[in-house]
Subunit: 199 residues, 2 copies
């Protein structure tokens, strides 16, 4: 049976290995790349290698950076005594968008997930404990996702941190601003009620 | 405001240029590539360049190939007097899967589509006319997609080809095998009725 030229099939296979890209989409992407001008394809290939080459984890907060120390850890105006713990680098971007948080971050690079064979040893937990035991930290804010695995990871971490005599907090649960009550699920609503505040 | 490291953002931008890949997905793919072992990232980059380098259009049928002449045109057992005209290389694969067609192909690399600024001059139509006028062709089968643009392209081509004293045909319309009549649209059903055959 006729198949695609080997190099085209190989490119489609490479795309198909990416998360969320099925066989048909991978084929479509491979065809698209083939139709690009040579310099654009070269740029694409270079971008892959350049990202691998220049981006690494900040030795302090483990966020991705292309500098020696990431811009947040390197910023003297940030409060180094408050650490916000997030699961992924993209969560740092989300937190920064709020322009509210003046402390620093710690990126775990995942959450504890037995189903996906991710244990506490696969995460940057040792580095977090080291930062806290080095002193100067007042508070650690858990900002993992409010789902089962994020919750479990936050609980696990808070048990490790509480003996270290610092404040351990969690982002508030509640109804999202701009949402509609009728679409809020019952667990969110009951948490919002528990956490109600004086106005 | 904090942004991703430049090289990571550049990689995400490259992914976002691919068809059907939005900003969020592009970010996710870029993160994934960053987590690949270096050799896997290198393989991905190489696959892009290798596909660009080695894959080109067959000078006879315009299908994609990494050989001088594509395997179908190069196969002496194929009937060179019957040409099946398709829009894209992937349509050749689909036709070959049926194991029914013993002729050769001609790939247009698109269909006429004024909305997308694709005119007849952007397609491999001149090459098709040249093949037919070179002689030895008995029949041209139109196998463009049965949608508006595919139909229009097939009609345009058949008007060009009919004066050349060859048979010009079209794939039959009808109900797909294995489908259910209740879900067939009315146009398909009326075409199936028109094209009914003795059993």
């Amino acid at each position: 049976m006729l198949v695609f030229p080997a190099a085209l099939q190989e490119l489609a296979d490479q795309f198909a290995r990416l998360p969320g890209i099925g066989g048909k989409t991978a084929q479509r992407l491979a065809f698209h790349v083939l139709e690009l001008p040579l310099e654009d394809a070269q740029e694409f290939a270079d971008a892959i290698l350049e990202a691998k080459r220049s981006v690494h984890c900040c030795p302090v907060c483990q966020n991705l950076t292309d500098r020696e120390i990431c811009p947040v850890c390197d910023d003297d105006s940030r409060d180094k005594s408050v650490i916000c713990v997030v699961a992924e680098p993209k969560d740092v971007i989300a937190m920064e968008r709020s322009r509210e948080f003046q402390g620093v971050y710690h990126v775990l690079h995942g959450v504890i997930s037995p189903l996906n064979h991710v244990t506490q040893d696969d995460l940057k937990i040792r580095e977090l404990l080291q930062r806290v035991s080095d002193g100067g930290v007042r508070e650690v804010i858990m900002a993992t996702n409010p789902d089962t695995e994020g919750e479990a990871t936050a609980m696990y971490l808070s048990r490790l941190l509480r003996p270290m005599e610092i404040r351990v907090t969690r982002l508030a649960y509640g109804v999202p601003v701009g949402s509609q009550l009728e679409y809020a699920d019952e667990i969110t609503l009951s948490r919002a009620l528990e956490g109600r505040q004086e106005i």
